[in-house]
Symmetry: C3
């Protein structure tokens, strides 16, 4: 259990404290559910009315709301309350969670020739192949598989049941959720008389620093050359990244996105959930793509893009879908009307 | 091999037996493929013509079809033949499958402080963390990972390679298929000068009783507070449930659905495959959403909803898609026609 | 490191060699990145201009391009350069990768009654259940789970953390990527008074020869009878194949496809990424379905099909989506215009 005084928090995380520095805080919570022992935050201006009713013992708000929180037991003024909350959450996690101990669990298998930093942690039933390198403070979770000659950068944390293929490289401070498969074979076959002949995938996966990869997400190894994930990229769960894809720095993708082979995505993009991106395309920096959209051409201008069929009640949307199938006829009817003599 | 007389089945599962109680049955099969040693059922009225041709040794039908099965070797009348089949399938599985033995496989790792019921089963290479609780009759499959302080309710069955995160709780009689990841981190980051700072996910996952979770399905832990799956929910494979989502009791989702964070879905909903639901929405009870639809607004009335682009032959649908992109122009042309003087 | 003379390659893989048979090659690479120690290939006619600029030490091209490569250090003429590359990649992989040693890793668990060919390889922490059969040259990867009575055909290679359910059968020379779940329960429930009662899935999965199955792909066991994957089928990552689906020989599916239960897909089909196919449908041989399309009816004629909402800039597509929702009104306005007296 974490227990902290408001004054201590501000000493460590910054901001201006209003009210009682000795106010004891025992949890972080949302505005609506927070009780007197909780610290909460206002990041979304639409939630401002909740400031009147929240029972939170301490509130993180923007300086412009100083007057609104003046009478409270405790409050913290910060230019970016959401970012303050992010840092608070990490401060809290460090204190409330037990870090895995350095060293190798007795049940793990580490092959000869693997190099583990003495401050690395290798969990139960983990496997580290020959020639693999695990950096300082890195955590290889239980049941995880680190292939031969793979590299896990310092401070990277790998959850349970992750697979890092032979020769793939992970930067520093990455976080991999359970079941992620990095470096499976790309999907490459040559047609030959009605059959498909396998193209061995001879590249690997190269992942930058500060990358997060979600649960059961798959990043395939390159056919020739590597699949490359830039620094600071954040991938949610169940994402597919095809072979030789490049994802630029600080791009984020929500869950269930699929990116086909050899597509290059720029930096600082935001890709919504279930987006599909065809192969061999180019998406420039700072492109945002709405959830569920299908991208079948390159996007060469920054901006927001999308395209999904509108949701409707059953009878209505089915009728609209039929009309979409008949649009050419509707267009012809308009044309005929236009050609009518006045 | 299961071998059972028709009379024994009825004694155990109910229904009215017509014909020979000594008729021996050795398998369950569909109407078209069943042979004389098989029991089959008619649930879909459209398949009724198959009653003439099926060779099944015993048929489960509604009482209204008494005359149609009167001459057969054996038949069972039941008000709900499909439900009868469901119960028969479970009866059969109990007899044809070997239940995992109670106890801990010698290769498993159980950390000090875990509490395993003597009637629980822990498979090969399974890991049970400190403080975890595994109830009576629960099965932790091979290679599965039960995090610290997690709870597995009595009678729940976990297949191979499942991960239950620290502090997550599973009710009683749940079934988890292989590769499911429960309690991975939710996808939360705060923007900070062009980078993304991780928000530690301090909540957990709470799963009710009688829940089924499909293979490689992911349910993320809450950011603050828990992600909650109600009693009797059935989730198919490869589904993504974001942090702090709530799924009401007895809702079912087909495979590949994605639900973004903080969305609340009601009870008794039916969500088709590959549906995507945006974050922070509310879907009330008894909503049905057609496969492939994208939901980007709350649904506050029960009923059937959908919206997918109609499938067509290649040339045709591409032309329709172009016309969809030009709908504003078509509308303007209609307007111009309407404004023409008569 | 592989190092091979051009003449040796041709001796082993065929084709007509032009230039220096002693030209040393140390890597395979793309036309744009290849250096003088690399062999490259021209398969896509649109890339032909790169023949002028590529620094590749050896080029695989069609005989029609003999003149264009005549002056180079080395070149190989082949009727199908892409297929030549596929075979070259396999030749290369065989020499650059260490094949897993035959035998059982000391950490693996093999239950009594499993039959392993002496030339099979069983990796670290693998589990092979009672009655399972693993053929000659087959590889069971680390952390993989082979259920009771499952069969792994000769020469099949299973990566890390794969699960093969009890009684499922894999043909010869198959390749399974990490995290695949074969033989999880199909999604079957009978409604009963507002709840869902489980239908035990009594069938299994039967997979032909030369099948590839991608990372985290799921193939469910049949309810009654088996789910069947034909010879030579290639499935990419994160695909869902429902219970009792049949996939015909040499059909390929890109990543994130979902196929609902009991659908029968023909041979030689090509299914794009994120396609969804509803249950109980029939797709004939030689059907191609564009990425992202949703199939809610049977396809009984070979050919190309598709249907996705066109991508657009944010304001534009949203306007188009609204107009799609109002198509019935637009149609009525056209009708009214048509009915106007001239």
């Amino acid at each position: 259990m974490v227990e902290v005084r408001a004054g201590e928090l501000v000493a460590q995380l910054g901001g201006e404290l209003l009210g009682d520095p000795d106010k004891l805080l025992r949890r972080i919570d949302g505005l609506e559910t927070a009780g007197p022992d909780a610290i909460s935050f206002l990041a979304n201006p639409r939630l401002q009315p909740l400031l009147q009713t929240t029972e939170a013992g301490c509130l993180i708000v923007q300086p412009a709301l100083r007057a609104a929180v003046q009478g409270r037991t405790a409050a913290i003024l910060s230019d970016d309350p959401y970012l303050y909350y992010a840092r608070l959450s990490r401060w809290w996690a460090q204190r409330s969670r037990t870090a895995p101990a350095a060293g190798v669990h007795p049940s793990a298998v580490v092959e000869p020739g693997a190099r583990l930093h003495p401050q690395a942690s290798v969990g139960a039933f983990a496997f580290v192949g020959r020639g693999a390198v695990v950096g300082a403070g890195a955590v290889v979770g239980p049941h995880s598989h680190i292939g031969a000659d793979a590299v896990i950068g310092a401070g990277s944390r790998i959850a349970a049941q992750v697979s890092i293929g032979d020769g793939s490289r992970l930067g520093e401070r990455c976080v991999l959720q359970g079941g992620a498969v990095i470096g499976g074979d790309g999907f490459g076959f040559a047609p030959a008389a009605g059959r498909w002949e396998k193209i061995e995938q001879l590249g690997a996966v190269r992942i930058g620093d500060d990358v997060e990869i979600g649960a059961n997400t798959c990043i395939d190894r390159g056919a020739l050359g590597d699949t490359v994930i830039g620094d600071g990229v954040k991938l949610d769960n169940l994402i597919q990244i095809g072979h030789n894809v490049q994802v630029g720095a600080h791009t984020v993708m929500a869950a269930c996105v699929g990116v086909s082979g050899s597509t290059r995505i720029g930096a600082h993009c935001i890709i919504g959930g279930q987006v599909g991106i065809a192969g061999h395309l180019r998406i420039v920096d700072r492109v945002q793509i709405g959830a569920g959209s299908k991208v079948n051409r390159s996007i060469l201008e920054p901006g927001r893009y999308g395209g999904i069929f509108p949701l409707g009640a059953a009878g209505t949307w089915e009728k609209n879908a039929v009309l979409v199938s008949q649009l050419a006829k509707l267009r012809d009817r308009i044309r005929a009307l236009e050609n009518r003599p006045d």
